[in-house]
Symmetry: C2
DNA sequence: TATTGTTATACTCTATAACTATA
DNA sequence: TATAGTTATAGAGTATAACAATA
């Protein structure tokens, strides 16, 4: 299929296939993230004084109670000092607690507080509502498919 | 539909609907971009000494020859000084030229050089090949749908 | 008055290096 | 030796403010 020469794959100039930007998934993801980051800022960031990274770390801890900082760092593909900084901020705001481990005295187990859970849930609720409004030109089925395909993309991290 | 209480929407604890992180499109986009940014770095960034933003600005100029810096800034939703910086870098590398406008002496028309076009095309080619390999667990149809749905997302920027 | 683009400057976010403590 | 986490520090990328030139 890729070896067959189709008219729409040949350029006017040289007859060679042109690499099409439109087909680069990473480019479309980047463009889409302009929209989703803007939506985050308006729907949750501004009202709750919440940064995207803050939200992500918070919900990750909420969904994986007792997890460690190293695990969060790996999940987000960022450095350990970076996570330390975000945990400092989240702890300072009373949304996350670091609990010393009893079996391994190097590690800490992370948990959200009631207040932290409330912030995370409110933010998620706001985001879902805003997305439903803003992306109403997508059907429910399309949104479901999109989420699943994005999820499949995210599975491949280091190949 | 949202007012009807469905069993799968109630939490064990309170009986209230739980806002599901999994359904937040922005979260999935952010997770997916970890994968695509890593892929960019390995497939094009490292070899061509190219930053994601550099690539994006370059291809945007290539696909919109004669466009202005202000237009690029709006397209990427970044500030004007930021674009000035990237244009400086791209011009210094001989990939982009600023051409003074004859009708409006404030503006410049942006064009890629032959070298710039070559870099952009090579990068795009490398990215497409790497994505085809890395995301081979998606069918061609799924990849097409994904690109189209992401494109539809990107249409909604400021609502 | 508004817009284009630049310079100066500061802030945010992320990383690397060096370290302590523990396994 | 390797891992978890912190501190110190530097770099990349972004923004705002102030400005000059032009519309």
């Amino acid at each position: 299929m890729t070896t067959r020469k189709l008219p729409e794959n040949s350029t006017p100039a040289g007859g060679l296939e042109e690499a099409r930007l439109h087909d680069v998934i990473g480019y479309q993801v980047a463009q889409a993230s302009i929209a989703t980051l803007g939506l985050f800022h308006r729907a949750a960031g501004e009202v709750l004084d919440l940064r995207p990274a803050e939200y992500t770390v918070l919900v990750l801890i909420k969904e994986n109670p007792g997890g460690t900082a190293a695990r969060v760092a790996r999940a987000l593909a960022v450095s350990a000092p970076n996570i330390t900084m975000w945990l400092d901020k989240l702890e300072r705001r009373g949304w996350v607690v670091r609990q010393a481990s009893e079996t391994d005295r190097r590690t800490q187990h992370l948990h959200v507080t009631d207040k932290g859970r409330q912030v995370a849930d409110t933010a998620t609720q706001q985001l879902l509502e805003a997305e439903r409004r803003t992306f109403s030109h997508l059907t429910v089925g399309e949104r479901t498919i999109l989420v699943e395909l994005l999820h499949k993309l995210a599975l491949k991290r280091s190949e």
